[in-house]
C-alpha cells in the first residue's frame, strides 16, 4: 500500500524495503508530526511541558475519535460530511441525560446508539441508492443539524456533573482518559480491520469497486458497516466532548468539526479518493492539527491571524508528499 513506484531491477532488497518504509503514509505523517513538534519545542518556550502536551492530546481526542470512523469511510472511497452534525445531535440528545442523572453509562447508552442510528441512515442511503455519498450525507447533515437544534431548543447544555464527564476529564495513572478511549477504539478498529472479511476487503472497495465486485466482495455490507462505525464513533466523541467542555453549545452545530476531521484523516495519509490509507492516520493527523494549533498560539500569533497561519500549515501538511517526494 506504500505506493512506491516501480524501481528498476538494479535496486532491490534492502533498498527497496527502505523506499517502501520511507514513502509509507504513516512514516511521512509521523515524520511531519515529529518535525513540527520538535520545531515548536525548540522555538516556542513552554511547548515541551508535560501539561501542555497533555492539553494537546486531550484537545485532539474528539477529532481523532470521529476521525477513526471517517477514516474507514474514506478508505472505502466514500465521504461522510454529516459526522459534525451527528456529534451535535448525540451531544444534545445525551447532554440533558448526563446533567439530569450524572450517570456515565446512561449518557453513553443515549449518545452511542443515536450516533449508530444516524450512521445507519447514511449507510442505507449510500449502499442502496445510486446517490453519491457526499450528496447523501450533505442531505443528512442538514437533517441532523435541524433535529439537534430542535432538541436543544436553542439552549446550550451546561455544567455536566463530574461522574458523567469522566471520559473527558478523568485520567488513569496519569494518562488522560479521552486519549485512552481513543487508543482503545483504535485497537478495536484495527483488530476489526485485520480480522474480518469485510474489514480486510475495505481497501479493495475503495481502490477498485468493479474489480472488488467481480471478486465477490460484499460491497453493500462493507459500506453499511463503515457508515455505521462513522456514526457510532461520532456518538462516542459526543460523550468525550460533553466531558471535556462540560457542555454542548449550539455553535457546535456547524461545519467546522467535519472539515477538521477530514483534514486530520488526509494529513494522516488516507487518500480522499479511497483505496489507500492506514488506521493510524486520524490519530497522527488530529495530533498534528493539535500541535499546530497549540504552537501557533504559543508563538503569540495575534488572535485574528491565527486561522491564516493554521490554514497555511494545514495545506502544507496535506501537500507534503507532493512537495517533498514529488510522487504522483
Amino acid at each position: 500500500m506504500s505506493g512506491a513506484s516501480a524501481i528498476p531491477g538494479m535496486r532491490a532488497g534492502r533498498q527497496l524495503r527502505m523506499t517502501a518504509v520511507l514513502t509509507h503514509p504513516d512514516a511521512t505523517a509521523t515524520a511531519t508530526l515529529v518535525l513540527c513538534a520538535a520545531a515548536f519545542a525548540v522555538f516556542a518556550s513552554g511547548f515541551a511541558s508535560v501539561d501542555n502536551i497533555r492539553g494537546i492530546v486531550i484537545s485532539a481526542s474528539v477529532v481523532a475519535c470521529i476521525g477513526l470512523g471517517e477514516n474507514l469511510v474514506m478508505m472505502a472511497g466514500e465521504i461522510d460530511v454529516s459526522v459534525g452534525s451527528v456529534l451535535a445531535l448525540a451531544g444534545f440528545a445525551a447532554g440533558p441525560v448526563a446533567v439530569a442523572t450524572n450517570n456515565l453509562w446512561l449518557t453513553l447508552a443515549v449518545a452511542v446508539p443515536v450516533g449508530c442510528v444516524a450512521g445507519l441512515v447514511n449507510g442505507l442511503i449510500v449502499a442502496w441508492t445510486p446517490i453519491p455519498s457526499i450528496v447523501a450525507t450533505l442531505g443528512t447533515l442538514y437533517v441532523y443539524q435541524g433535529v439537534a437544534l430542535l432538541l436543544s431548543g436553542s439552549h446550550n447544555v451546561v455544567s455536566v456533573p463530574p461522574a458523567a464527564s469522566v471520559l473527558g476529564v478523568g485520567s488513569v495513572g496519569g494518562f488522560p482518559a479521552p486519549a485512552l478511549v481513543v487508543l482503545g477504539a483504535f485497537a478495536a478498529i484495527t483488530l476489526w480491520h485485520r480480522n474480518t472479511n469485510i474489514g480486510r476487503d475495505l481497501i479493495a472497495v475503495g481502490a477498485n469497486r468493479r474489480a472488488a465486485r467481480t471478486m465477490g466482495v460484499r460491497i453493500r455490507a462493507g459500506l453499511m458497516v463503515t457508515f455505521v462505525l462513522a456514526g457510532t464513533m461520532a456518538g462516542l466523541a459526543a460523550v468525550l466532548y460533553l466531558g471535556e467542555v462540560g457542555g454542548m453549545q449550539t455553535s457546535v452545530i456547524g461545519t467546522n468539526t467535519v472539515l477538521q476531521v477530514i483534514a486530520a484523516c488526509a494529513i494522516g495519509g488516507t487518500s480522499i479518493q479511497g483505496g489507500r490509507g492506514t488506521d493510524l492516520a486520524p490519530l497522527t493527523g488530529a495530533l498534528l492539527i493539535g500541535v499546530i494549533t497549540d504552537g501557533v498560539v504559543i508563538f503569540g500569533v495575534a488572535g485574528v491571524w491565527f486561522q491564516f497561519v493554521y490554514g497555511a500549515l494545514i495545506l502544507l501538511a496535506v501537500a507534503r508528499d507532493r512537495l517533498w517526494l514529488g510522487r504522483r
Binding site: 445510486p130 437544534l149 480522499i272 507532493r322
Partner: protein, 342 residues
C-alpha cells in the same frame, strides 16, 4: 421527453408544491413583495451556486466560497476606510474574489491535490486573512451611495435579482454556445480524454476556480451593500448551501454537466423554505430538516425521471441515442458510480 427537460419539470413541480403548502399556511406568503424579497435574499447564494455549478461541472469542488465572500468584502471595507471612493472599492471587491479563485485554481493544478483538500486549506487561509485584515472588527461606515449595489429597485423588482438572472443567462450561453463551454464539459466528463483531445486541462481548471471566485466576489459586493456592513466571519456555511443547490438542480456531483436554469431554480426551491416557515410561525430550526428532505426528494425525483427517460428512449429505436443524454445514466447503472471523483 429529453432528460434535461424532465429534470426542470421535476424542480418546477417541487417548487409548486412548496408554494402551495406555504400559501396554505400563511396568507402573507404569496404576495409579490414577499416573493421579490425572497429572490433578493437568494441572490447571493444564487450567484455563488452558479460559480459552484461550473466548478462541479469540471469535476472539482470549491469549499472556500464562504471565506472568499468574507475576504473580498473585508478588503473592500479596507479600501473604503483608507479613502477609496465607492466604485474603485467595488472593483477591489470583485478583483479580490477573482484572485482568491485563481489562487485555488493554481493550487489545484500545481499541487495535483484533490480540490476538496486544497479548498479546505484555503477556506481557513482566506477566512484567516479576512479576520486578520479586519482585525476582527465589523465595519459599516460606507457612504450612502454604496446602497446602489444591493438596495436599488427597478419598479418593484430588486436590481440584484435582474443581475443574477442576467448572469445565469450569460452562463447558459457560455456553456452551451461556446467552445469554452464544450471544453469545460469535456474536462468534467473525462479529463484524460480531454487532454488527449488537445484541451489544456490545467487552463480550464484555473478558469473554473477563477469564475467561482469572481461570482463570489459579485455576491459579496451585493451582500455587503444589502446588509450595509462587513464582518470577517460572515458567509460561513455558504459552501454547503451552494453545493446543495447544484445537487438539487440535478447536476451530477461527479461533473460533466451544468445547467444555469436548473441551478437557479434549485436556489429558489431551497430559498423559499426559511421564509415560508417564518411566515407560518414555525420554529426556524425546522428549515434545516426541510432543506435536507427537499434535497433527498429532489434527487429521488431526478433519478425517477432519469430512469423513465432512459426507458422511454429504449422503446423509440428511431430516436438517435444522443451520448450526452444517456451516458450518465448507464454509468450509474453499471458500477453504481460510487467514486467520489475520477
Amino acid at each position: 421527453m429529453k432528460l434535461p427537460a424532465a429534470k426542470v419539470l421535476g424542480l418546477v413541480l417541487l417548487l409548486a408544491a412548496e408554494l402551495a403548502v406555504f400559501t396554505a399556511l400563511s396568507p402573507d406568503f404569496l404576495t409579490s413583495s414577499n416573493l421579490f424579497n425572497i429572490m433578493a435574499l437568494d441572490t447571493e447564494n444564487g450567484l455563488i451556486a452558479l460559480g459552484m455549478a461550473v466548478v462541479i461541472a469540471s469535476g472539482g469542488i470549491d469549499l472556500s466560497v464562504g471565506s472568499i465572500l468574507a475576504l473580498s468584502s473585508v478588503t473592500m471595507a479596507y479600501a473604503v476606510q483608507h479613502g477609496a471612493p465607492v466604485l474603485p472599492a467595488a472593483v477591489v471587491c470583485l478583483v479580490t474574489g477573482l484572485v482568491c479563485g485563481l489562487v485555488n485554481g493554481s493550487l489545484v493544478v500545481l499541487l495535483r491535490l484533490h480540490p476538496l483538500l486544497v479548498t479546505l486549506g484555503t477556506l481557513a487561509i482566506f477566512r484567516g486573512l479576512a479576520l486578520g485584515i479586519s482585525n476582527g472588527n465589523g465595519f459599516s461606515g460606507f457612504p450612502t451611495s454604496f446602497e446602489f449595489f444591493g438596495q436599488t429597485y427597478v419598479g418593484q423588482v430588486p436590481a440584484q435579482v435582474i443581475i443574477w438572472l442576467l448572469l445565469a443567462v450569460a452562463l447558459y450561453l457560455v456553456v452551451n454556445r461556446t467552445t469554452a463551454g464544450r471544453r469545460l464539459l469535456a474536462v468534467g466528463i473525462n479529463e484524460t480524454a480531454a487532454s488527449y483531445a488537445g484541451i489544456r486541462v490545467g487552463a480550464v481548471r484555473l478558469a473554473v476556480y477563477g469564475a467561482s471566485g469572481l461570482f463570489t466576489g459579485i455576491a459579496s459586493l451585493i451582500y455587503s451593500s444589502r446588509v450595509f456592513s462587513v464582518r470577517g466571519d460572515s458567509g460561513s456555511g455558504l459552501e454547503l448551501l451552494a453545493i446543495a443547490a447544484v445537487v438539487v438542480g440535478g447536476s451530477s456531483i461527479r461533473g460533466g454537466e451544468v445547467s444555469a436554469a436548473r441551478t437557479t431554480l434549485a436556489v429558489i426551491v431551497i430559498g423559499v423554505i426559511p421564509d415560508g416557515l417564518q411566515l407560518a410561525n414555525i420554529d426556524t430550526s425546522w428549515q434545516y430538516v426541510a432543506i435536507g428532505v427537499v434535497m433527498v426528494a429532489a434527487i429521488v425525483i431526478n433519478e425517477l425521471f432519469a430512469r423513465r427517460a432512459a426507458a422511454i428512449r429504449r422503446w423509440m429505436p428511431w430516436r438517435t441515442n444522443r451520448k450526452e443524454d444517456t451516458w450518465r445514466v448507464s454509468d450509474t447503472a453499471s458500477d453504481g458510480g460510487k467514486q467520489l471523483s475520477r
